[in-house]
């Protein structure tokens, strides 16, 4: 006995103080390790862990004095809630008390079934709680015995909830089995086809059932493409009309899609690795089949990687599309129901009026009219068809730009322009001084005439060479064949100042005796801009 004890110590390392031989640990005395569970056994255990919940649901139908109202109380949900409650407090500090569990469950049951009395809710809560502790079997651990293919019965014993005494009562915690099964194994999307196919495929690969695996791989590819399509639709919706998408929905959808795809990529890699082992097989058949499966799986993986690339920037795209489409084409009336909003009202209209609506619909529904190559069939149809009817089309007159129509505040009336032209024609015959022309203009009682005349003479003095540089005003047209010349006289006038220009035709100006010969005087003379410009040309 003494030796056994020291041997037990030796398992953890030689105890120097004892100083006994032998030193080597004795293997035979080790506690036997539990045998490694097969996948079947593992799944069987998970399944069994759920059994107490089903048992309590059945038992609830026979409670006295009357059965629990399961139409309004979901006992499975209550059981699930119990584990959640217990686990939630396990992580934080200390275990939850029994009373707190019951109180919380009662409140939960009351929310579930608003009409229920508090005592009934509490009764249901306690019922569930007690059954999770295996009350019918005197709070023993749950025990189930499984029989394997080998005919050997293997008992499996577990708890769901564990109670521990504390200073002020009893605290509740959850067992590893409860946590693993209720929180982890059950937390998957039971309707996730892609994930299901991946699991199936993995199992078939592991079992070496390659023909089945190939069919599953094809199914996996099909599902991937379907998911890809639904994501494409989402992306398309964003591009088409952002307002058709709820931002919150989008966020959920995108994060779900992203999560899903990330999971798929992990699965793809694992499956590929699985399938790759088949490439080392001795049989050619197995190698070929594995190759085909790998090809299919790689297709899926490429699809998933591509989707991931597209789904990642979707938020950004949504925002930019929002910015863009706010400025996009005018929103059209949006139909809700063609039948009630459009079709039935049109049916009720008189034919004449109905035609107006149907014409609009037809013209707009047929989209673009592309040019196609003539086919013989079409030509025969065309030749035999009645002539095209003339349907008058309303042509909207082109609306001139707003500022074209309004009167230019700086333009002169036609009368003023005509008068200025007359006065200038006097000058065209005989060169005349601007001051004399002004006197003539003032005699006409037109306040704008003098203005126009001065402008015209200035234009004739230095016309703008580039016709595009400024707009052509009235002063340009009436000065044709006229030049102004600075002969060094000062204009004495109440309204205008500057040189008293000599105005006339170029030839007459040269002959005029008013034009002094170029003085030899060294003092700088005013330069005729006009001549300067022409010289430059």
């Amino acid at each position: 006995m003494r030796i056994v004890e020291s041997q037990a110590k030796l398992e953890w390392g030689p105890d120097q103080s004892v100083g006994l031989v032998p030193i080597a640990p004795i293997q035979a005395e080790r506690r036997p390790r539990p045998p490694k569970l097969t996948a079947d056994e593992r799944r069987w255990r998970s399944q069994v862990v759920m059994a107490p919940v089903e048992a309590l649901v059945r038992a609830a139908a026979h409670t006295q004095p009357e059965p629990i109202d399961q139409a309004h109380l979901d006992l499975r949900r209550l059981a699930q809630r119990t584990i959640d409650l217990v686990v939630a407090s396990m992580g934080i500090s200390r275990d939850i008390s029994e009373d707190a569990v019951i109180d919380a469950l009662t409140a939960f049951a009351e929310r579930m079934s608003p009409g229920i009395s508090t005592s009934d809710a509490r009764y249901a809560a306690e019922f569930v709680y007690r059954h999770l502790l295996n009350a019918p079997d005197d709070f023993a651990r749950f025990t189930f015995t499984g029989v394997g293919e080998d005919g050997v019965p293997r008992p499996f014993t577990f708890d769901l909830l564990k109670l521990e005494p504390t200073e002020d009562g009893v605290s509740v915690s959850a067992s590893a089995e409860a946590i693993n099964v209720f929180l982890s194994a059950l937390d998957l999307d039971a309707t996730d086809t892609e994930a299901a196919i991946a699991v199936m495929l993995e199992r078939q690969l592991a079992d070496g059932r390659l023909d089945a695996a190939r069919v599953s791989a094809e199914a996996a590819g099909e599902t991937s493409r379907r998911v890809a399509a639904s994501i494409s639709i989402l992306l398309e919706d964003i591009g088409r009309d952002v307002t058709s998408i709820d931002w919150n929905d989008l966020r959920d959808q995108v994060s779900a899609a992203r999560h899903h795809i990330a999971g798929r990529i992990v699965d793809d890699n694992r499956l590929l690795e699985h399938a790759a082992s088949g490439l080392d097989a001795d049989e050619a058949e197995v190698r070929a089949e594995s190759g085909r499966i790998i090809e299919l799986l790689e297709g899926c993986k490429a699809l998933h990687l591509d989707l991931q690339q597209r789904i990642l920037p979707v938020h950004k795209r949504f925002l930019s599309a929002q910015g863009e489409q706010r400025l996009a084409r005018r929103p059209r009336l949006r139909l809700l129901s063609i039948r009630t909003q459009l079709f039935e009202p049109v049916l009720a209209l008189p034919a004449q009026l109905a035609t107006v609506v149907t014409d609009v619909f037809v013209v707009n529904a047929f989209g673009v009219r592309g040019r196609r190559l003539a086919r013989l069939n079409d030509l025969i149809d065309g030749l035999l068809a009645p002539p095209r009817s003339y349907v008058p089309r309303e042509i909207d007159a082109e609306v001139p730009d707003a500022d074209d129509g309004a009167a230019d505040p700086q333009s002169y009336s036609n009368a003023t322009i005509a008068a200025a032209g007359e006065i200038l024609s006097v000058a065209r015959r005989t060169p005349t001084l601007l001051s004399d022309l002004l006197t003539l203009a003032r005699s006409r009682q037109d306040p704008e005439l003098a203005d126009l005349l001065v402008l015209a003479c200035l234009w004739a003095f230095a016309p703008e060479e580039d016709p595009e540089a400024i707009g052509r005003g009235a002063e340009v047209d009436i000065t044709s064949g006229i030049e102004s010349l600075d002969i060094g006289r000062q204009l004495v006038d109440p309204d205008y100042s500057g040189a008293d220009l000599l105005v006339g035709s170029p030839e007459a100006l040269l002959a005029s005796d008013l034009v002094a010969p170029m003085p030899v005087d060294p003092t700088p003379q005013p330069i005729s801009i006009d001549r300067y410009r022409r010289g430059k040309k």
């Binding site: 398309e236 088409r240 009336l333 129901s337 079709f343 209209l349 034919a351 095209r388 009817s389």
Partner: protein, 241 residues
Amino acid sequence: MTDLADATAAGILIGAGFTNRNPAEGSDYGQALDRYRNNQQFRQLVDEFARGLGLTILGTPRSGVVLAPVTGSVFAFRLGDLRMDNTEARMLFGLAMLAIAALAYPRDDTLDAPGGQILSIKRVEQFVRTSIEPLKALTGDADTVEARVRSAALAWDRLPVFKPKASQPGPATGCTQRIVQDGFELLVDQHMANRAGARLGEGRYLLTDRFRLMVAEIAGGEALEALRRVATERGSEFAEG
């Protein structure tokens, strides 16, 4: 700066909008379509290019790019293209088109749901007849204004459902089934429907996303506006008279 290759791709994409080609993965068209969906800059380039041509890009469902002409565009479909010699025939044709759309896309969410819709001539014709039934009861009174001006519904009701052709199968001119068939056939010409083929039976057509988008985005709204205009004009006439 615009790359010349981008310009080519934009052209390919718009050009493909005039055909009924489906974008094959990896083809020039497929690549251009992918870029249009994902590349902001390229999308803008194509949109502007199309705008210059008088076209709008309505959408890019899986079946390919969907173009719509802007009002007055050279590509716009005109009533004259229908080659219909009288207004009543044109109106009946329009009714058939409306019925096709109403039956294919009964609700607003169906207008948004991509994918083909299979309809048969018989079903569309039947749909119009059922919709007319309640109206017949309403317009029974000979003294009402409605009865004096024969309603669109009555024009349809007057025609027989089916008239056989002399030697070939199918409806002959002068029956309502033929009008519906004409509508479908024009949709086929415009790449908005396919004949469903032998597997689904004769007289069945598969409407594509193009038609859906055209109805949802443009034709439906425009027709609704036209209907409202007509209704208000008519309302004021009644008020005056």
